[in-house]
Amino acid sequence: MCGTCGCGTDGNGPVILKPGEQTLVHSHQEEHHHHHHDGHTHAHDHSHSNDQSHVHKHKVLEIEQDILQNNAVLAARNRGFFEAKNIFTLNLVSSPGSGKTSILERTLSDLKEEIPFYVIEGDQQTLNDANRIYALNIPVIQINTGKGCHLESDTVYDAVKKLEIKNDAILMIENVGNLVCPSMFDLGESKRVVIISTTEGEDKPIKYPDMFHTSDICIINKIDLLPYVNIDVNKLKNYALQVNPKLVFFEVSATTGQGMEAWYKWLKENRV
């Protein structure tokens, strides 16, 4: 299931790019279009045998199939791969402009001597974010989703293969900036991290509850701007906890570095 399927035929499907490389790798392998059927299809023949002149071939297939099953199966495959190689994978989600890439840049610069990092960047268009990561000498793959508004597990699988990740690493997947659609699509990540900034409304968690409900970590970015913006951080946290009482918060500024140490500590403790 892809964001804009018809992929390959209309040119709107996801495209995987590597900074410094000209080749384009189109993402959809055969398996993506293959479903695993486990024989739970029940065909009931609804022919009306008492009506000899009028035999229908109507059949009711009670398939009871989860619509997101294909994504879930491939996400499980990703997760198994990550676990086997001891790769700690984070799916970073937020609205556009919350500072996902800035937090990534700061984290990678500060920790890259200690921890091997890999990055997958998701955007509708451009290599801009991947180029920012590439400038830090971190292996990175850009996925351009075209018209698609979120990453799905099959595209991540292809990107992961191209990244050739070594064992015991951290993989950061920066999802498309969108607080709605990515919430429904498991990528096989270890933890989901939602980022919100102090320049956004404090009621965002209840306006976009699905994203906060499915996340494990909430990073509140641009905390250095608190004196200048009209936001009550406690209120924001309470709204978020109302949606998801298990959320863990970090208050940071990717620009000044404030609060980043606590985030690094969490990363180091949880990656094992």
Binding site: G3, N70, N71, V180, F185
Partner: protein
Amino acid sequence: MHELSIALGIVKIAEDETAKVNADKVTKIELEIGVLSGIEIDSLNFVWESAVQNTVLEKAEKEIIVIEGLGKCIDCDNEFDMENIYDCCPNCNSNFKGILKGKELKIKALEVI
């Protein structure tokens, strides 16, 4: 607009299932969608026509069974109706709950010919 992804996923499953039983097309599709599933039914209806064009679902009647939300409070065991994913227990105001119903997003049945 992830409803388009969802609609295209539905088309893919319907195409596969129809092919498996050598049927030509789907005359009716039954979907179960929970109110807490993250799908806007209006949006799904909006994209439906273009998603099913030239597929086995093109002429199919679509029936959507809406599943209401039901939560169970982890603190006091109270079961309660949920309209939003952030609804707290009306009995003890706890936010800790399990969602028993309302996250459904599935194709229940296809009628093929």
